[in-house]
Symmetry: C2
Subunit: 164 residues, 2 copies
DNA sequence: TAGACGTAGA
DNA sequence: TCTACGTCTA
């Protein structure tokens, strides 16, 4: 398809500003903010084979937590989604979870997008660049869940959606 | 959501020209060409309760046939998709199928969109307005399939994609 | 709440 | 081929 051989990148996307809103996930794919149409964590593979996260989407399906726009506690993917009726399983340090773990070690920035319910309807808002500060291994419903604490880079426009 | 209370309409969409291309189905939803993200047949309900088709998407999943841009034989929805592994069942004259049938009786135009594979990749192309000329009841894999023959309104720009 | 001609990548 | 924080209407 059109996207084959298109380069994924880490960091800001030219033409996309903090606070930009999108109606559909597909738009995130088109502009290059988040190239996975359904997965919460997008990542690329470096020449040395190591995978690094490029962006995450907080759509509210997992038990994430964002007390202020400066901090996001993001749940890993796989096995333990609260909205699934299937039996939970232990999350593994692979795929998107491994990518976020590597991003912490490398100190590379992550683009954060959140699904919000505004008066005009649901939309995805680009929150800007964050860094993975901590990787935690917790338990929910008796099974392993990865939790990633992300901190917002300073110097970016304020965002107050959802915090009155 | 944003689309609640937005009016579906029959006929041309302001700002969309014949031959316009779209990368994702979601874009068809956004511009109002086809408001169903996955279904092939979109329709509206008139004040008198009758449903009328507004648009169809030919994505290649069903056994449709378009010998030239002037004629499209479009398969009804439900029960009998060649690409499904599940056991086929008889299609019913309801939902999108009923809507297309009613559109023939009323003589109202249908927007036609086709998924094409171009050198640049897959995309959805707006083919323009068509009228339902005939409704047929056929059999495939032993089960009932509705077939709708659509004819293109004259006076619209030529389209030669896929016909060399 | 389920079903429907969705998409990209592993 | 399958999975994955999709999205609209009935």
């Amino acid at each position: 398809g059109i996207w084959v051989n298109t380069i994924r990148k880490i960091g800001s996307i030219r033409g996309v500003k903090v606070g930009d809103m999108f109606r559909h996930r597909a738009q995130l794919t088109i502009v290059g903010l988040h190239r996975q149409p359904l997965r919460g964590i997008d990542f690329l593979r470096r020449k040395d084979g190591r995978i690094l996260a490029t962006s995450i989407v907080d759509s509210g399906r997992y038990s994430n937590n964002m007390p202020s726009s400066d901090t996001l506690i993001y749940s890993g993917e796989g096995g333990n989604c609260p909205f699934e009726t299937t039996e939970p399983t232990n999350q593994k340090l692979k795929g998107g979870n491994l990518a976020l773990n590597n991003s912490k070690e490398e100190g590379t920035p992550i683009r954060v997008i959140r699904k919000l319910k505004l008066s005009s309807g649901l939309c995805y808002v680009y929150y800007g660049l964050y860094i993975v500060e901590k990787v935690m291994r917790a338990r929910e419903r008796g099974k392993v869940v990865y939790k990633f604490r992300l901190g917002r880079y300073s110097g970016q426009p304020k965002l107050t959606f959802g915090y009155s």
